[in-house]
Amino acid sequence: MGDIRQSLLPRDVLSAAKELLYHLDIYICNVVQSGRQPPQVDSKTQELVEEFILHAPKDRNTPARRMSALQELQLLEIMCSCFQEQSRDTVRQLMFSALFNLQGNQADESRMSLLGKLVSMAIAVGRVPILECAATWLQRTHRGYCVRLAQVLVDDYCSMVPGSGPTLQNIHNASPRFCCQFITAVTTLYDLTTEELTPPLELLQMIVSWIQEDPGLVLINFLNTALSGNQPISSLDVTPLGGLMRWCVKASLIYSRDKKKGLTNGSAECELEVGPLFSALHLSVLQVLMLLPNILNEKGLFGRLALLQVESLAALTSDLSRLLDQADKHTHTSSTDSSDLSELALDRLAQALQVAMANGALLCSREDLRAICSRLPHNNLLQLVLSGPVLYYNNIHTPPLAFSPHASHSPIASHPTHTPHPPLASSHPQYPAQPFMTGMQFPFRPSH
């Protein structure tokens, strides 16, 4: 296929790109029909894509050709119809990855930018095949890039174009897989560490409504994926459960902090709206966790696959303790209010921990849990959870599957937004360590 380069060179930017797309389609069909395994495009083709579609500079001497925004739009339109019209999933998938799989070279930037526009456009005009491809892409790509894509979409639909929210809302119907991956990416992106990393209200409402409407959405990716060991390194989590749990736990503290910063009346209103949203979301998360045992048992993975990572839980608790610390410092005046919020955060954590452990989403011993939670201030519910009865796994002694993307990559994921956490052993000076009372009886029994 490398021989078409000479014929492409004299064309103008757009028609060259078009022609290359045409040839690419044919080429990939050939590849698929030849049954070569694994089906993939060769590096020559890859270079052609980079040169004529992504316009990465081939070498220093030739200046990179650029498309105008209009030409780019035309190209996107052509791509849309191209993917739409391609009936074979494999070809489509291969084509998508030929275009957008990251190669670790300087073309990746333009790749990302084109991908963002394409997906955004696909959402707008409802091109399901593209969304499906994008869902796969999100599954296979490093989470840093996934997060960037999510950012582009959120910017486009939740801030740039007013009134376009409903369009995004539609992806739930159009492509649940993409929707699920999108939620995962968004929860990874907005980790509530800074004000910028707080999700827009519109987005939050959207996500809550999605999950409320269909709790299974969260697990759809987990269900549809053949779990294998060759999950790419540092990709997104299989489910957004961890991120959602983080949101619910931290939300009360974060929004109250933001309220103090923003001195206008707007945030109070915001607070009013946000509180119930997160409560609903928390409930949904717990409900989804409750769905897990059946699924896991079906797959025979109960007690072997941890959907929630201990490492991310550790990060969450240390974040939480820091936030509590800050809240305590900043609000010694209105202590009742802030202590209420702290209690809420700790309660939610305790609930989530308990439900997750009980439903096999979190695989760790009480001792580990105690260590992780040692820096948190006292909370009755948490105390109960920590001192709770021994959990029974079906096969507690079997080691968990090496499924987690983090497992090979400990201790903590190399996600850029995550900062390394201090060692857990060092107990926080301000709060008394969570005392562990051995003799305490735990009245609650999980139902199964």
Binding site: L70, V125, G126, D155, S159, P162, G163
Partner: protein, 1016 residues
Amino acid sequence: MLKDQTMSVVLDGSPLKAMQSSHTHTAQTALSGQELSQEIKSFISGIDTVQGRKLSVREHARCAVRLLRSVPACRGAVLEHLRGVYDEHVSAFLHNLETESDASSGVSSNLEDIIQEVHGVLSEFICLNPRAWAPLVSTWAVDLLGQLSSKHAGRRVAPHSSSLNELLQLWMSCAATRSLMEAYSQSLAAMLSWCPDACVDALLDTSVQHSPHFDWVVAHIGSAFPGTIISRVLACGLKDFCSHGAKEQGLMVMVGDKGSRVPKIGSVVGILGHLAVHHSDSIRKELLRMFQESLSPSSPLSPTSSSTSWEGSPQLRRAAVPFLLQLAAMSPNLFGAVSAELVELLRPPVLLQLQALLQGLPREELDNMLGLAVHLISQSPSGGSRVLRFLADTATPASVIISGPTPSPHEGVREGCDRLLQMLLLHLHKLVFNRSDGAEVNPHHPALSQPKRLIPFLEELQSHVGELCAQTLRLERKRHLWLHQLLCLLSVYGGPSVATEALCQLLTQAHNPEELALAWQLHTTLSSCMAGLIPAAVSRCVAQIHTHTLGPRQLRQLLLNLAAAIESQDGERRGGAAAGVQASMAIQMGSAVSGHLHDFGPLLLHGDSAVSHATVRLLSCSPLPRASSPAHLLLLSRAAVTHFFMGLRRRVESGKVGRDGGQACEAVNCSVVLLSRLAAYSPLTLKAVLQLLVEGALHKGNTGLFGGQMADMSGAPLPSASVSRDIGASLLDINCRFGTVVNFSGSVWSVFHAGVIGKGLKVRTETQLPDPSGVMQNVQTLLTVVVQCCSSSGFDGSINSSRPPSDPGEPLAINAEAAKVIAVTLVENVCPDVANGELSWPPEEHARTTVERDIHIRRCFEAHPVLFPLLQVVAAGRPALCYCSAVLRGLLATLLAHWEASRETLSTDDPWHLQASCLLVSCMGEGQLLPPVLANVHEAFPHLTPFEVRLLLLAVWEYVRGNGPMPQKFAFSSERGLFCRDFSRDGDVARYVAPIQSVLHKNIDRLGHLCWRFQL
């Protein structure tokens, strides 16, 4: 307002609200994916996909707006498409203008509403989500504006880019550009709260790219947001400056090449230059604020560091001062705006901070800044004197003694200023001396060797020469050296006029020899390149005098200084040192002053005694001009004489004690010197001086000085007060008055009015007796003057020069001609009647015909005792006394009459007459009108009775009658240097001695000791 609105939206941060507020567009957003896809296709192809026809521009634009609202991914393409729409509108607009078709409701109006629509959408988006849209729109709008204004700059209707206002008017009347401008303003207003830098960065970049055509945008934006734009522009420039590194820029400007390598700072200067027209105040404030804040110690918590961010970075803060310097170097406008107030700001604490700040900079950067600062100062068109004063003040070490109200600055600061000042002087020196012939002096910098280059700093200082001189003269340590150097440079720069002015000011303002020496130093430096400086300076001084710009004190000082200058010549000569520069200068000065003697003359009569004193000092030491017009000389003589008498009077009034007394004495002495010099100058002046002196001595007003009284000369009755007040003379009154109807004076019909019968003798006017010692001194002084004048004869210089006053004991020889002048003047003044004025004497009986005149003469002598000494002087200058013959005769006649009528027993009972007789006879003897035998008779007078005195005087008369007092009887004896009369040629004296012998015999008991005096 706009800003408030957007702010509130920002803070709400709630897209929900945005959704609510944009619910009107839900119809459009509800398009299905399929429809949207169609819409995109239409947009791309420009063809309505449903109906298959071509879209009009308008419809196409509508389609684009719809996509903008619904498909985020189309944003870039839509905006790009809209560029074309805007461009089309501008083209149509300009075309309409060009064809001047009034039917402007064609294409353009169609597009105008679509542009309105686009603008509405964009502004709505900006309102709803400023953070996302404002940067996007602002970049787009600015870029498009730049493109449009560049593209259409060449159009026929488009005014030239230099006429900013017309350009602004044109573009703002075009809907497209106006809408863009508004959109940009809105974005800017929205962005100012969080990231103004990006916005202004874009503006600056575009401004650079489309430089002259884009200026109207910057100007408009700038005037819409003056405060923020200015500070933003500055902050941007600073950042850019900081990142580019100050060094090469500094070098570049020093070389004078404002190339394109520094784009940002160039456009910063350009923009600020535009804004300076209307907002110079805020620019100045902003610049000064920048300066101040760059100095104030970093306080991260300070809430005042409002929107800008550069205060936070130490690196930027350090770069601020170099940046400002750079800015100032590139724009004279900005520099001018700041320089004035900057100096005010530089109080000691600020200086300390500045020093602390600059300490951290590397050496060569500091040098660079120093060079830049020096360059700036030398180019500053105003406020130079203030800067100079500041520098000098700060650089001069404040000792404990001088420390003023401000605390002494830090040592480092002081050194810095010191260095700066020295560099400045060096720089100016180069500039000044390279200016004229730079090619030879400095071949390495041909750029500097332009033939005539203005140095604004010096230009401005030219008007402050006076101040500079005053400061220089304070002689404060280093300061006066600097200032002196500066004066030199200024003089060289400004040419003769400034040099003259400076020298003149120094001459006027110096108070003591040290200060005066500065003037000489200045002249020494300048004399090599300027000729005729001193005469010009003196002329300038004279001009000052004429225009009365100087107060009495200054005037006095000036005159004294000039005098000192001239005198230094004498000192030099006396010191025997080689005739140095100073001597030659003094000579020049002397000749210059001598050329203006007539201008100084009137000052002798200045109302302020100090001034006249100074004048006389000057004149007394200044050489007299070689040639001068008689009128000037006469005027000068008159003034000098008048001053002499004034001096005498002042001396009397001030007494001898105290400073005034000493000064008055000195003034008189100087006056004496002046008069004698004047007299020695030429016959004309000698005559004039003597004449004036004598007249002055006899003048009514001066009689008191010499022991005289106001005598009633006419003999007429004193007019009563009532009459004198009556100015309108009535003939009847006059006729009623006795003796005045017919004037008999001078005839035999003299009538004497001694009083009214029954009332006794007429009362003489009362006069107070003057202080005898003062009188004596005055008379002495007068005689000194007269004698000096007479002896330093202008007639015959050889006599005087051959006999210098080497022996002070020897009496000075009285010049005969001079004595004659005195004699003639005396006669003119004392004896009003020329009748019977011949020299030879008539018989004594004939004296009756001249009784009235004789009485007048006697009264004159009574009223003016000084006449006798003057007569003596005349007598010494033989044969001048001959010309006084009439006076002598008259006096003698009245004395004879008096002694004849006297009924006293002794002559001593009439003291005045006795004295007069003695003096008269002795004078005549001195003047050799009488032989020694007869001349000695006055020695006997005090011992005789009045009648006997009369006998002896009669003998005198007889002798003179027999041997007329004729000048031709005198012969010049060369060995004595005098005229002498050989009495042997005259008739026998014995004939006249008989009465003497008789009197001797009669009174031998008392006159025995005098007998030998009368031996023949």
